[in-house]
């Protein structure tokens, strides 16, 4: 009976954990993979891992753990499928001037440009610029240094700007 009571409590705690963090995981996966459907599959995999290791994750590190696992799952998903580069406008084909785009178009243009970035640079940009984490937090999650993260983001922003302006980097 004690085991069953413990199991019910565990299930309830995990459900609350899932509810509080699902948006963060799905959003990160969405920006990494570009499609909501792919992000759902990746997020499901992330939370099933979290369920398996629930109780073993050190308290206070759940957020970092989730981000790390989300990125790893996204890397695997990207390796399994090739991103359709044809969906992304070729540089020079349709230069987009920021002032001429509506907000929705700007977001879509940026999302498409994000998918051109190498995985590690994309991860650094997503965590820092979209998820709003600090440079040190990003470095901790990616297992690198703050200097490396700043360099990656600087390079990535330069590429994004050039792609969005229609000029080859």
């Amino acid at each position: 009976m004690i085991w069953w009571a413990g199991k019910a409590e565990r299930e309830a705690a995990f459900e609350e954990f899932l509810f509080r963090r699902q948006k963060m995981v799905l959003r990160t996966a969405w920006r990494m993979l570009g499609r909501v459907e792919d992000a759902q599959d990746a997020s499901q995999e992330v939370f099933l891992k979290a369920y398996r290791f629930f109780g073993q994750i050190q308290p206070g590190t759940e957020t970092a753990w989730l981000y790390r696992v989300t990125l790893n799952v996204c890397y695997d998903a990207l390796r399994r499928r090739r991103i359709e580069v044809s969906e992304i406008p070729e540089p020079g084909a349709a230069p987009c001037q920021f002032v001429l785009l509506h907000e929705e178009e700007r977001k879509q243009a940026l999302q498409r440009a994000l998918l051109r970035l190498p995985e590690r640079e994309r991860a650094a940009v997503v965590l820092r610029e979209i998820e709003g984490l600090s440079t040190s937090e990003v470095a901790s999650i990616l297992g690198s240094t703050e200097v490396t993260v700043r360099s990656q983001i600087s390079v990535a922003r330069g590429k994004l700007r050039q792609w969005l302006e229609g000029v080859k980097p």
Binding site: E11, F14, E15, L18, F19, Q22, K23, L26, R27, W30, R31, V36, A39, Q40, S43, Q44, F47, L48, Y51, P95, C96, Q97, F98, V99, E103, R106, K107, A109, L110, Q111, E129, I130, E131, G132, R157, L160, R161, L164, E165
Partner: protein
């Protein structure tokens, strides 16, 4: 340059503020809870089966032998070792055992005499039959 840093930051803010579709969140939650529950059930069944098999094994190993098994063991007597053939033939019951005699000295047999030495069940008794050349027993 048409995309300034501020423009890029504004676009990033737009992505940050854009919430994932509510339907996608609901579906994700349902799928995770469904799979997690099913996986837990399968694992539980597996461990229960393993525990049951282990309990059965322990019961079999620790269970006492049945009386029938014990009876069958005692019913099969251990066969007595077979004595040598001629000792059997010369077996004398204890009551008719020959009195102890001095160890016989093997007599100097005449060239024509032969002796047959017979062992009995009493190690102190040895029977010597003298046989002459004619074949008569003395």
């Amino acid at each position: 340059m048409t995309w300034r840093d501020e423009d890029l930051d504004a676009a990033f803010r737009g992505l940050r503020d854009e919430e994932p579709p509510a339907a996608a969140l609901t579906a994700l939650r349902a799928r995770v809870l469904d799979k997690a529950g099913r996986g837990q059930g399968v694992r539980m069944l597996f461990w229960m089966g393993l525990a049951g098999a282990a309990a059965m094994l322990v019961l079999v190993l620790l269970s006492p032998r049945r009386p029938a098994e014990l009876a069958s063991l005692s019913a099969s007597p251990i066969a007595a070792p077979q004595p040598p053939p001629f000792a059997l033939a010369l077996h004398r019951p204890a009551a008719t055992r020959v009195a102890r005699v001095a160890p016989p000295r093997t007599p100097k047999a005449a060239p024509s005499e032969e002796f047959v030495r017979l062992m009995t069940d009493d190690p102190d008794v040895v029977i010597l039959w003298a046989v002459d050349s004619k074949g008569d027993l003395e």
